[in-house]
């Protein structure tokens, strides 16, 4: 294990944090009643710092189980990040487990107790007796302040017969409290490895399937290559991940990643829409902003999902004016002017209706672009001619090269359940807009079967 130059308080050289485990604690997680999003967030923060998350573990509220897991993890890892189980109620057992795993006893931390009292006082309440337990910590450990709630974090070292043991940091489970604690207090306590670099780069494509991307990447995806290249697919988007892990300095890692990225771009560059953490919606908002253009949406089967993805992006209001959720035919007619005869002749799920929705949105919303979606998300509503998964997406552009608005209508045959069809549809609409703004409106998308220009 590499050693950094920082020292422990007792003067011995402090080991760097190289191999991490992330532990989430709570019955509601193991039983599937809640979805764990903390582990992913923490993993990203560790990777950014060159620390490799080797394992995520989710455990129930069981004292013996948590204690045993912490001891096992201390054998193979030098850093353990825990979330959950620090609440005031009887099912919160992380404090005791950490004390047992580190061979220590719990004592009351006077500073923590005062902080908890102050937290309640700030809300006009006396501290309930129940909450005093949150001020406990192992005697050789230390408390980590929580500005967002009543549960202080805890830091302690767990020894291991197999090696140097692990530094363990326990944080509260609510994501908001966990994130604030990590950013304000914990990030500074981590010791990324000095002699070892981990660097990743993600490039997100839309248009080709995963196997087509893999075929184009060829040897770049060999398992013994360095940097390693992998792919993952999600609702029409295929992400290419490049990962360097080795003894070289950061400069060398960056050079190696850049060289592979160059080769990835040569193979599949024309389908790359966004990078790293940026979402497709962020890329679309960014492209609109650079073009000084604006957008409205008219949504039927997605019914707000597209607008929601766009408005997740801070500052989206610069380019996104809003739109219409025309779930019923009545609103399609009364609010964006789709002719009743057209709805009667072609149906709500048709190229004609999609085009009329986009045209109506352009006319009434006054934006430069309008994306319209109408389709059959299922589970019912399909027919032989238009099975579940039939989706029409129209992109209206008020200011193309010519003088008239151009409407690009595409038919898709999406697969999967209601949720997949809706998510894939909203993402395809964003990709159509992005390609149009990039001057490559004729790029076909995955699952697209027909394209017409009106």
């Amino acid at each position: 294990m590499s050693r950094s130059s920082t020292n422990d308080p007792d003067g011995s050289p402090a080991r760097s944090h190289t191999l991490a485990a992330i532990v989430s604690i709570g019955d509601e997680l193991t039983l599937g009643q809640s979805l764990d999003t903390n582990s992913r967030w923490l993993a990203q923060r560790l990777v950014e710092r060159g620390i490799v998350p080797m394992e995520h573990l989710t455990l129930p509220d069981d004292l013996a189980g948590i204690t045993a897991a912490l001891q096992r993890l201390a054998d193979d890892h030098d850093l353990i990040l825990c979330t959950g189980g620090l609440g005031p109620t009887a099912d919160d057992l992380t404090r005791q487990a950490l004390a047992q795993a580190s061979g220590d006893v719990l004592i009351e931390d006077a500073v923590s107790l005062e902080q908890i009292r102050t937290w309640f006082a700030g809300r006009g309440r006396a501290m309930p007796a129940l909450n005093a337990v949150q001020a406990l910590r192992p005697s050789r450990g230390s408390a980590i302040p929580n500005e967002q709630g009543t549960a202080p974090g805890i830091a302690a070292h767990i020894s291991s017969a197999a090696g140097d043991g692990a530094d363990c940091f326990c944080m509260p489970g609510p994501p908001r409290e966990m994130m604030a604690m990590f950013d304000s207090h914990l990030a500074g306590l981590l010791r990324p490895p000095a002699g070892r670099t981990v660097l990743t780069r993600s490039l997100h494509t839309m248009g080709l399937g995963e196997s087509e991307i893999a075929a184009r990447l060829g040897d770049l995806m060999r398992r013994d290559a360095s940097p390693l290249v992998g792919t993952t697919a999600s609702w029409g988007m295929v992400s290419v991940r490049i990962r360097y892990e080795g003894p070289g300095p950061a400069q060398e890692a960056q050079r190696a990643i850049r060289a592979v990225e160059q080769r990835v771009r040569e193979s599949v560059g024309q389908w790359i829409i966004c990078e790293q953490e940026a979402s497709l919606a962020a890329a679309a908002v960014d492209a609109l902003r650079r073009a000084s253009q604006t957008l409205t949406v008219v949504e039927s089967c997605t019914a707000g999902l597209l607008g929601s993805l766009i408005s997740e992006i801070p500052g989206a209001s610069d380019v996104f004016a809003g739109g219409w959720i025309t779930y019923s035919n009545r609103l399609k007619h009364s609010q964006v002017g789709v002719p009743e005869e057209l709805l009667a002749a072609h149906g709500a799920v048709s190229a004609q209706t999609a085009a009329a929705m986009a045209r109506g949105g352009l006319e009434r919303g006054g934006a430069d672009h309008c994306l319209a979606i109408t389709g059959i998300a299922g589970p019912s509503g399909g027919s032989e001619e238009k099975p579940v998964g039939t989706v029409y997406i129209a992109h209206g552009n008020r200011h193309p090269q010519g003088q008239h608005a151009l409407i690009d209508v595409r038919r898709f045959q999406m697969a999967g359940d209601r949720e997949s069809i809706r998510q894939w549809s909203a993402r395809s609409a964003l990709a159509i807009l992005w390609y149009a703004l990039a001057g490559r409106a004729d790029t076909p998308l995955l699952r697209q079967t027909v394209r017409e220009l009106h």
Copy 2:
């Protein structure tokens, strides 16, 4: 360990599946590039069957690591469900790890190979050479058909020196393929314990904070109680979970759960909106359907999120007509008729604007109810008078007891980041509608600071 009456193919009594581990495999998961949702889904399916998920584990694409983890898990569990790592590329290592962990070799499964060829032929393509590797399975294991993709699943037994070992089922990582394979082929292979019952019940409340719920539940939440009662909080909703785990028959478990549920309802029943898997949106859609009434929405800061939550529910179109995403002031005025003077005098985030949005939505949409949301989701846009998190939610009801539409406007001070404020706002709007339909419109919600009737 309890034994069921079914027999293994070789005639020995087949052990039942009691303690399960769920394993997710992929660098993109451990590195935080993708969010694992499979584990939660599988945990729910196991719990429904009385099998307890004791641990979720997420591992990188590393052969030795996966192999060692499978062997360790076979010591303490009798069932292991794996997802991921069955693709055709070099970073897909689950097949080899399973063979090594079960002391076996990989052979080609002729039926699987034919199914993969057929899958490609159905899409007008020859099978790429790369995909032949997906037909491999351990020689003593068996293949599980995949109707949704090219990766067959694998079943194999992993022995353990510490006990009887574990049955291991490996499924592909894409959620759609995994879910279809589980439901069609795997569920029937599970052997829930005959002499041991696990039963859970979840009741979801909106209106009180988690500590208030806990205080009202009192002794019911004792850690040594059976059934066990726990709580979790998410965006304003506090869920109460009741869990029975014991040797009794299903009847006794149900009786025990019902008795505790009765006491939970006596303590916090007036805040319970929905149960089990039902979402708040499903409860609202259901309440509208029972009242034969309809809904539109007018969304500013949530910009489609509320419509999206409602339209996630299959059949929502019976009661949900759609609405407007009035992200810009211009659309607030032009599309739902909020007077420009009113916007100028009070601002877009005000009780007056929220009320006008709801009134305009009622008038133009023709539905019985209209929910309007306007607020400051941040990170920027806050002021001293109206900090980030200030949200107004208006509920317009066309047909209250009197003759005139009634508009109920509430001010909230939400906490957290942009995503929290948006999610909490959309859920609060649904709760306001639900309480109104239940005849208890005056129920205050968490974070609500002011209520006015217009």
